[in-house]
């Protein structure tokens, strides 16, 4: 028995063979084909871990997580990581493809001069819906009102989900009320809370990820979520030959734009591979794959010519200048506590 145990032990012991790149990314945010091609290119293995919220990423790192090479934080989380000194500066010589990026997405307030980060892709937070149902119920699809106003919600009761994210839901409510998504005036927060509490009885769940499936299956008809997820739901529904289509559009009140950036963690075991990966992903062709497969917005000018025209012409994926988009900024500890308390109040009922 003892011998058997020993043999099993060695068979089961994780094998660390060859080069590995540890990628800590949003779930569903890289095309498997791209990973395969990068693995072939660098002769290494890509090991992925996922998060579904920036807060989750920050919390894991605060808990001392080490061993990741690449992280893909959104602007506000990026700023926080930089202030913590958690990142390695980029070696520009190793990422020449950074020149492909649209200057509009470089030198943001979160990382002036792009010392640490290279833009990866962007998404917007918007409303996605079952096109046929919305028509049938006569609901508008260009306003947050459809998520927050009981007048509309009464028609889709129990068929709506909103994001399980303090910041995103608050931002949507603030936008609907006509404030900035980054408004930190507590009085405005309280009116947003009131709005949310009034709408909540009509929502089925707070959901950060499985709404893609729920939309595709037809259990849920209206969701507050990320543009790339909506895109995936649309593709899945099409592939499954569902009798309905999934649509998504930016509300006229404005919405959150999240620019996700590739950065290298301070404790990255393989900064060399990490630079290789970043440069690889900044290549026009590779970057376009992300957009074509996942429907994410693309800040890469060299990629645009490879992007499927159907996607390139979708204003919810490539928004025009008039769409009142905002990037979220990080909150300090005190504000976080206030928001946290608000959040519990929202969730407890």
């Amino acid at each position: 028995m003892g011998k058997l145990l020993f043999i099993l032990f060695f068979v089961a012991a994780p094998v660390f063979a060859g080069d590995e790149l540890h990628l800590y990314n949003w779930n569903n945010y890289i095309a498997p084909e791209t990973v395969d091609r990068f693995e072939a290119y660098c002769k290494c293995r890509v090991v992925q871990d996922y998060y579904s919220d920036n807060e989750e990423l920050l919390a894991k790192l605060a808990a001392g997580a080490k061993g990741y090479d690449i992280l893909v934080p959104t602007g506000n989380a990026l700023a926080s990581l930089i202030r913590q000194g958690a990142l390695l500066p980029l070696d520009r010589k190793l990422v020449p493809n950074l020149k492909n990026i649209n200057p509009a997405y470089l030198d943001t307030a979160f990382d002036p001069g792009n010392r640490y980060s290279a833009p990866y892709a962007y998404t917007t937070t918007l409303i996605g819906y079952n096109v046929e149902k919305m028509k049938q119920l006569g609901l508008p699809t260009d306003t947050w009102a459809v998520i927050f106003d009981p007048k509309y919600l009464a028609r889709v009761k129990g068929r709506v989900t909103v994001l399980d994210s303090q910041r995103e839901l608050m931002a949507a409510a603030l936008k609907y009320l006509g404030y900035s998504a980054n408004d930190t005036d507590e009085a405005h927060w309280y009116s947003a809370e009131k709005l949310i509490l009034r709408a909540k009885p009509y929502w089925a769940a707070f959901n950060a990820s499985s709404y893609i499936k729920e939309l595709t299956v037809g259990n849920i008809w209206l969701v507050h979520g990320y543009s790339n997820d909506m895109f995936q739901a649309r593709m899945d529904a099409r592939a499954a030959k569902r009798k309905f289509t999934i649509g998504f559009s930016l509300p006229k009140e404005g919405a959150v734009l999240a620019l996700d950036n590739m950065v290298i963690h301070k404790y990255a075991p393989r900064p060399d591979l990490a630079h290789k990966f970043i440069n690889f992903m900044l290549d026009g062709k590779n970057s376009s794959e992300l957009t074509n497969m996942l429907g994410s917005g693309n800040p890469n000018l060299a990629a645009l010519k490879y992007v499927d025209p159907e996607i390139a012409s979708n204003p919810a994926i490539f928004p025009g200048k008039e769409s009142k988009l905002e990037m979220l900024q990080d909150l300090d500890m005190e504000k976080r506590r206030v928001l946290n308390r608000l959040w519990i109040k929202i969730k407890i009922e």
């Binding site: 540890h22 800590y24 090991v47 871990d49 579904s52 061993g67 990820s209 037809g218």
Partner: protein, 255 residues
């Protein structure tokens, strides 16, 4: 209680216990990625499972952790069980039972803070150390109950015949309680391989385990692959229970 009512409610309770599991297994053969309605029979989710690198790695991690943790917990838990049975140490039962008696989340949270405080990178090691901690008590209980059922006069007789305490233990007590130890080891193994809560808090980079993988699949992208991995896990546990019941029938009776 009237006999018929009793039988009816008993059968209903069994149905309640098994229906969900039957459904999980059945849907692992469903030929639909969305898994909402029954489409047709397929093996493809099992095939997908064996091509899923992340899942295989998680399974490897789980197995590694469970083997290591159950081995260490069996050694320590047997000592603890023996001490519980043999010596009157006032605080020992409290120390051994407490981790089992408080909600798991508290053990997970306190270990997380502890590992960060001592600057131990979260990963396979931290998970394994945590698993050992909560498995010791379970092994100790199983071993103690085996000791309690043992005839005390046997090791004493061995001592009277000139055996040293160590010889008496090795040649008499140990063979007698071996089935209990093995049962404890199997219990520790299954607890470790199934643990979610404590692992959730103490896991770090690249140290995903099967339950963590299942959790993220349930939360993120549910395909029948989850059902397939669940079915295989159930078969594994069933297999272990059959072994345990062969070796030591008492161990599977929940005593």
């Amino acid at each position: 209680m009237p006999k018929r009512l009793l039988a009816a409610s008993g059968i209903a309770a069994y149905l309640f216990l098994y229906l969900p599991l039957v459904i999980v297994v059945a849907y692992s053969f469903n030929d639909s990625r969305l898994n909402a309605e029954w489409v047709g029979f397929t093996w493809r989710w099992y095939k997908a499972l064996f091509e899923d690198d992340a899942m295989l790695k998680a399974a490897g991690n789980s197995l590694f952790i469970a083997l290591t943790a159950s081995f260490a917990a069996t050694v320590l838990g047997t000592m603890a069980g023996y001490a519980l049975h043999r010596y009157r140490l006032r605080l020992l039962p409290v120390l051994i039972m407490a981790p089992l008696a408080i909600p798991e989340i508290l053990v997970g949270v306190s270990l997380l803070i502890f590992f960060v405080a001592v600057n131990l990178t979260l990963g396979l090691l931290s998970i394994t150390l945590s698993h050992i901690a909560f498995c010791i008590g379970f092994v100790a209980i199983v071993v103690r109950s085996r000791l309690a059922g043992m005839d005390e006069s046997l090791p004493e007789a061995a001592r009277d015949l000139g055996a040293s305490p160590w010889q008496a233990f090795r040649l008499v007590t140990f063979p007698l309680i071996a089935p209990g130890i093995l049962a404890g080891a199997l219990l520790a193994f299954t607890l470790s391989i199934d643990d979610f809560v404590i692992t959730f808090f103490t896991a770090g980079v690249g140290a995903s385990t099967l339950p963590l993988q299942i959790y993220s699949m349930i939360k993120i992208a549910v395909t029948p692959e989850v059902n397939a991995v669940s079915t295989l896990l159930m078969l594994l546990t069933l297999f272990l229970i059959v072994i345990a019941s062969r070796i030591s029938p008492d161990s599977v009776r929940g005593k």
